[in-house]
Amino acid sequence: MLELNGLTKRFGNVTAVDNLTFTVQKGEIFGLLGENGAGKTTTLRMLATMLKPTSGTARLAGFDVVRSPEEVRRRVGFLFGGESGLYDRLTVYENIQYFGELNDMHPREIKKRIEELADIFDMKDFLNKRAGKLSKGMRQKASFARAIIHNPDVLLLDEPTSGLDVGAMREVQAFLKVQKEKGKTILFSSHTMSEVEKLCDRIAVIHKGSLVDMGSTDELLKKHGTQTLEDLFMGLVGGSK
């Protein structure tokens, strides 16, 4: 579903992403693990066609991110952690509706889908409130709903749980599991090992833009003879420093 081949991004002298190659299968939850500045956001931005790779290619559902950006974007749901990116002066409903319209959905279809999402995310009470007036947890739910209004095949999530309390974090994790069951492909970045460990089928550890190692949690732990991902990560990253 997702193929990265030698994907590289340079900003001036800084190589933010360096020759990344990996594939994510349909229905897989794939974790991008790395410290601050490792290049996670940059990688996701390239996959969402917002940044052009300096070299290398990436394909999403067979479409090249540089050559067919619109085909790629219609299949992608993109979400940032930390900030919800909602329009404060619009209601939750209007926020979600806007993204439905932008993704060429029929008004009737949008209405039906929002009702459905309001059910899933338990948003009925604040659907018609202005986004600016909501709590952080509510905003996060609304932005999740907005990101998947058009039922995308691939979810690109940049640190989706950052800044959430434990309860909200659990909800996000439960949501990701449901999406996986529906056959969605999920690529998400994180620097919390425990989260990646629990959720991901496979993990890529990146450091300073380069792929350090990749595999399932078990594989990685076995290979490096460490007990927890925490240790594994410190070993890998520490070794390359």
Binding site: M50, L51, P69, R73, G85, L90, E94, L102, A147, L156
Partner: protein
Amino acid sequence: MNWKHVMIVFKKELKDIVRDRKTLFTSIILPIFLMPLLFLLIGGGTEKMSEEMTTDITVALTADSYSEAAQWFLKESLETQDEDITIIEPVADPWEAINSKQAKLVVSLDRDFKKKLEALEAFTLKVYYDGSLSRSGGAVGSLMSAIDKLNEGIAVKRLEAMGINPQILTPVLVETENISRTGDGNILLMMVLPMLIAMLVAVGGIPAATDLVAGEKERMTFEPLLATRPSRMSILMGKYLTINLFSFASVIATLTGMLLAFFINPDALSMGMGEIGGFNLDTGTVILCIAVTILLGMTFSGIQLAISTYARSFKEGQTYLSLLMFVVIIPAYATMMVMPNDIQLYMYLIPVLNTISAFKLVLGGLTNYTGLILAMVTSLVYVVLSLLTAAAMFRNEKYLFRS
């Protein structure tokens, strides 16, 4: 670019910004109420001033030159020439008297004026006025014409006494006739209105422009938007249209305000300088004028969009855009006094000045098709250039993802 997407973005931006009371207030509500207030205040002020200069002109003799004969002479000869002139009791200090509003003017006469008058000699009448006070400085004119009439009256009597036809004094008879095709009150309108419209069209989109890109970047709503299906150019065009709408809305709001002022007090717009009317209703000129104005709005919307995209944050955007405001205001003020017949050809080629020139033509009842068509063609070029710049900024990830 996909027009369906453009309209979706446009509609959403409109809804979003209309809910932003600050932007709505500064670009629409404020001009509607500020304009009448401004014109009524300034207009009322100048009207009062000119009334002060021409009515109730109080003139006093200096105590030094006072004599019963002098007082009587002034009353007899000046009050009869102009009923607005009143001779009051003599005053000791001219400056004191004028500044304490006792008198508007103070005069002194030669002590032996009566003797000179009878001997057919000239005597001096000295007028003291305070040029820093319009009520005093402005009243000099009225007194002067009264004295001119007095001189003429005395001369005529003397000539008749000598049996000479008084017409000998005026070999040239002067007649004047105002053949202006526009109302005298248009002069002020010609100075203020074109400047105001051009400025507003050029800067009216600024609040919207700041909010629409720099604001979106800052609120982190921009990236999710860019990750949706529409191309960047569709998103850009939707925002561009919104900014355009606001720059024209601010002009319409201001004109509404001025009309309001006109209905409250018809003299307010001309500031008491006469009738307003006789505009050029030559259809071609009016159409070209409106076209040039719209193109100016489009040019500046593009520039504002480019600047807002370049800015890292809302604050930075505000700073750059207020600098842009100065770039507009300076040439606009500099050409305020230019009258329609004084417009140079180069003015039609420069943004802002081209719109000002076109409006001056319309208000002055003139036309200049060469200038207007030149303005039109160059404006089109500016629109394209500014849009291309905005598009280049919008495509450039260096500016979009600066932080």
